[in-house]
């Protein structure tokens, strides 16, 4: 069964450093998402992406964040200058199209900012 994959599974970085989290969505899916989950808290929406542009973003997704689909398979989330409060699990998700409501989540990247 096709699945969303994410790399790396764990990332440790120093405050102020840039990180890039990578995702490979399910191959025929057209909508892509990033969510995050701070330890012990709920899953929060960050951004959705369709047709090579952001379709919706939350208040969390400020100028320090950016997303890109650099090729036909990868979808990346970049955090330009990490803060301690960026420490969280970051989940990528994809859905087939706008009318296919189910989102399929990847296993996540655990980011720790020191």
């Amino acid at each position: 069964e096709p699945e969303v994959t994410q790399t790396p599974s764990h990332q440790v970085t120093q405050m102020g450093q840039e990180v890039i989290l990578r995702c490979v969505p399910i191959s025929n899916h057209l909508y892509f998402y990033w969510y995050r989950q701070i330890l012990g808290q709920k899953v929060e929406f960050l951004v959705s992406f369709y047709n090579n542009e952001i379709s919706e973003k939350s208040e969390i997704f400020d100028d320090q964040f950016s997303v890109e689909r650099p090729d036909g398979s990868n979808f990346t989330l970049k955090i330009r200058s990490t803060k301690l409060e960026d420490s969280a699990m970051y989940f990528c998700a994809s859905s087939e199209n706008r009318d296919q409501e189910t989102q399929y989540f990847g296993p996540g990247t655990r980011l720790l900012v020191l």
Binding site: V4, Y31, Y33, Y35, Q41, K42, V43, E44, F45, S48, S55, E56, S58, M89, F91, A93, S95, R98, E101, T102, Q103, Y104, F105, G106, P107, G108, R110
Partner: protein
Amino acid sequence: SQKIEQNSEALNIQEGKTATLTCNYTNYSPAYLQWYRQDPGRGPVFLLLIRENEKEKRKERLKVTFDTTLKQSLFHITASQPADSATYLCALVAGGNKLTFGTGTQLKVEL
């Protein structure tokens, strides 16, 4: 303000019993509501979706109800098994296609 509330206390039940989890929401008009399962350190896994014009949905041992008047969804697992132990998340979509999640309810099924 908008809220999605799930019972924050863990639910412990005996194997074979029916587990019932609750999701209440305020100040939303969701087009549909979804239930996901999350195991520790893993991503959410989709279980069931129910639309605003549906009252009930079933899949194997799972059943979801949706009452837009009460603003509540109930999630049932019948004949529960220890393997059903996990955190169960409800998520709403109300405009756009972003998911807004509740905090989840941890279910533990004991032998």
